[in-house]
Amino acid sequence: MKMLNLALFLLLNSHALPAQEGSAHTTLLAGSQIAFFNDVSQELICQCGCHLVLNSCGHVNCPSAVPMRSKIESMILEKKSKEEILSYFITEYTFEGKIIGRKVLSQPDTKGFDLVAWVLPFALFLIFIFVVIFALKKYSKKNPTLTETLIKMSPEETKRIEEELKKMDSQ
């Protein structure tokens, strides 16, 4: 479990592409605040229907992205933490009169059923690798290898097959 937690921590905190300097969505913030603004904006989904992360919605005067970005700006200026900002958007922020809830987040959580989203692809990857290694071992036990077959052949046959294999390698 500790290993799983560590792997998840590394995965979730890796700065996956895209990384960017500056922001096309704020003029109030500067320096490290902009990096923080981008970081938080990556965690939220614009609600206008574009289904893009807040950083990416390109609609001019977007009815969702513009107020959401303003709220993030003001909360950053109030020195709120990332968790506080995200929590506010999940529990209090309304769009078209409704609290958005967890649908405002751009990625699954690392708790409860959401954890399955993160774990399954990598678990499957490990299982596949295990299956491939198992299959390799099984095949090499059951079937004689080409080298073993070659030993049983006459020198002429061996020479011919080696030449054909060389030809195949060069193709």
Partner: protein, 670 residues
């Protein structure tokens, strides 16, 4: 004209059913006349679907506002250029599917009309079943020829003519949208052909290499168009959506990527079947997965099951798709299981370190990547079913899961071709890996010192150097060998090397293209963006570019009203570009769009978005992005297309076989 269109669809549907049945009976009872009749029916299906397409285009061109589809996706002032894009809505895009599939079916039928008489009828049957399914959708779920009707107070209905149409979605009014959907569809639909060959092999019992050899070019052709279509979609998103990027992991982008990934795995693993008679069962599974992912992708787009900017409409169409997918998968799996005994490998893997094993690992990584995309795409639906709460799985999830997988894939792209078939000893491995590893380590250190220490950025660039070095060394070795044996100069040797072994060296060029595209994608780690307010006569400096606002203007056309800025861009005091970012409000749809202004160089793009005017109309807000290496993505795509075309060209040996086959046929006929 709507009656003629409907008649053409009904005729095409009936003929496709007939062609499928006639092919099946003809093949089982060896009745040549029935098979020939099925061939004619296939040609007639193509002619009928072409007629239906012609009718729809005609209705769009004359802006017949009696027709629901025309009124929904066109308007009278829409530029004629866009009126030909009959695939803008759900019904039209399904008709495009049918049209392309009918064209493929006719081409396959014509190409093999006198050959492979046991296999081809089953191939035609499979294609025609798919054809009938899509035509049925057009007839009963999304008919482009439905007329507008209005309900009267007494409950009766009467035809209705709209004053004008709602117009084409402004985001689709872009040159890329003219060619992106047909290109992508040629790829998407094209995978039905290798699938049909696989089913043909299973149903006819012709389970040797024949189906692989016959379908190889069709698969490559489809893969080529799928790749180009995917990238064109990215180009459209980059130039039209105005957010500075080209890939957002939208469900429909994912739907196109998934079959591409499995098809890429298939293209690699069929080489093993051809060379070593292995992976027969696996190859069948891969092409089935590719085909059903294509249908699933179309289902995702049309059903609205997972929300997307591409989703056309929700409705009954989803149930048709799900039924077809479930039934198709069940029948295919049954056929595969029935023939499992004949699909056993005739050889085994000699060593985990060999070309065969590297292909196996490459397949594994591609499939995991495909699964990760699939899983992320459908997870909101699964989450809702399990927890009752629908969540969103956006770009950050896909980036975090897929980037590590992509790094492994990139590594395998470099290592795979260096390994020998059968077995590579540790000494040989050391020998072949030494130089590319050394070059990439030195390159990586230089990148870390001078460019970036961003983890994935550094890993990606280092691996790109590794793969490039590995490929170039392969070319160099081959050329050097020819220079010695054939006394050719280096360039002639490279040309002849590629020409005489198109599959191998064409494949290397495709790998090189993938590296170029990876470099372009990795360029995102240097992205810079800013927002500024500016008035005419003022300037703003961004990353060495001085952007001077010369004028802010307004324009009205029949189609839209526009606000624009005239900008001049200076670099080192020299004027390098004039840019005109625009904000448009389309009249018919009352939808706004931004028209991005771009200054492209090989190393970076200056990307300027008109983000709004203040109340006085004199100060405008600009969003400015400096996006390094984006051109590499497009250049890489062109190289990929060229490499694939080289792979598609017939080889000398194949030419000889083809001539021999033709001679044989002539002799038989004589």
């Amino acid at each position: 004209m709507t009656h003629l269109g409907n008649f053409a669809l009904i005729l095409a549907f009936s003929l496709s059913i007939y062609a499928a049945i006639a092919s099946l009976i003809g093949a089982r009872e060896k009745r040549v006349q029935l098979i020939v009749s099925a061939h004619r029916a296939v040609y007639m299906v193509f002619a009928s679907v072409l007629l239906a397409v012609g009718c729809l285009v005609y209705l769009l061109l004359i802006s017949d506002m009696n027709v629901e589809y025309v009124a929904s996706f066109s308007n009278k002032t829409l530029p004629i250029f866009f009126k030909f894009t009959f695939w803008s809505g759900q019904a039209g895009s399904l008709l495009l599917w049918s049209f392309i599939l009918a064209a493929y079916a006719a081409a396959v039928t014509f190409r093999y009309r006198n050959h492979h008489t046991q296999l081809i009828p089953y191939v035609i049957m499979t294609v025609m079943i798919t054809q009938a399914f899509f035509l049925a959708l057009n007839l009963w779920s999304a008919n482009p020829f439905n007329e507008l009707i209005t309900q009267l107070p007494d409950g009766s209905t009467q035809p209705f003519t709209a004053a004008d149409g709602r117009g084409l979605n402004p985001l689709l009014q872009h040159p890329a949208m003219i060619i992106h959907p047909p290109t992508l569809f040629v790829g998407y639909v094209g995978f039905a052909i290798p699938f049909a060959f696989a089913m043909g092999a299973l149903l006819s019992g012709q389970l040797g290499d024949e189906w692989i050899k016959l379908s190889r070019r069709w698969t490559l052709f489809a893969w080529l168009f799928q790749s180009a279509g995917l990238m064109m979609g990215g180009w459209w998103a980059y130039e039209e959506l105005g957010w500075g990027g080209y890939w957002a992991w939208d469900p429909v982008e994912n739907a196109s990527l998934m079959p591409w990934l499995t098809a890429t795995a298939f293209l690699h693993s069929v080489i093993i079947q051809e060379k070593k008679n292995m992976f027969k069962f696996w190859n069948m599974t891969l092409i089935m997965a590719t085909y059903f992912l294509c249908i699933f992708g179309t289902f995702l787009t049309r059903s609205g099951v997972v929300s997307s900017v591409h989703a056309f409409a929700e409705g009954s169409i989803g149930i048709f798709f799900m039924s077809f997918i479930i039934l198709g998968m069940t029948l295919s799996a049954m056929a595969l299981w029935h023939r499992r005994g004949s699909l056993k490998s005739e050889n085994s893997l000699d060593s985990p370190v060999s070309r065969e094993s590297s292909f196996l690992f490459n397949n594994l990584v591609l499939l995991i990547s495909c699964f990760a995309v699939f899983w992320g795409t459908i997870f909101p639906v699964i989450s809702e079913a399990v927890t009752g709460e629908k969540i969103v799985v956006g770009a950050p999830f896909f980036n975090k899961v897929n980037i590590p997988i992509a790094m492994i894939l990139l590594f395998l792209t470099g290592v795979g071709p260096l390994l020998a078939w059968r077995k590579t000893s540790f000494d040989t491995l050391k020998k072949v890996l030494l130089l590319p590893s050394l070059i990439s380590v030195i390159g990586g250190i230089l990148i870390a010192i001078f460019l970036t220490t961003h983890f994935y950025g550094l890993v990606s660039f280092t691996l790109c150097i590794f793969v490039t070095a590995a490929i170039l060394i392969e070319f160099y070795k081959g050329a050097r060998s020819r220079m010695k044996s054939q006394a050719e100069n280096f360039l002639v040797a490279i040309k002849n090397l590629t020409w005489k072994n198109k599959r191998r060296y064409g494949g290397y060029i495709v790998h090189l293209a993938i590296v170029i595209i990876f470099c372009g994608i990795t360029g995102q780690v240097f992205n810079y963006e800013t927002k500024t307010d500016i008035a005419a006569g003022e300037f703003h400096v961004v990353k060495g570019y001085k952007i001077v606002c010369k004028n802010i203007g307004f324009e009205t056309t029949d189609n839209y009203d526009s606000q624009f800025a005239e900008l001049e861009v200076f670099r080192n005091d020299s004027r390098v570009a004039s840019l005109r970012p625009e904000y448009r409000m389309y009249k018919a749809s009352q939808q706004p769009t931004t028209e991005v202004a771009l200054y492209k160089t090989p190393l970076e793009d200056l990307y300027v978005v008109f983000a709004g005017l203040d109340d006085s109309g004199k100060r405008l807000t600009l969003q400015i992005f400096v996006n390094p290496l984006v051109s590499w993505v497009w250049v890489g795509t062109v190289v990929l297309v060229l490499g694939t075309i080289i792979c598609l060209l017939p080889g000398l040996q194949e030419d000889r076989m083809e001539i021999a086959r033709k001679k044989e046929t002539v002799n038989e006929n004589a």
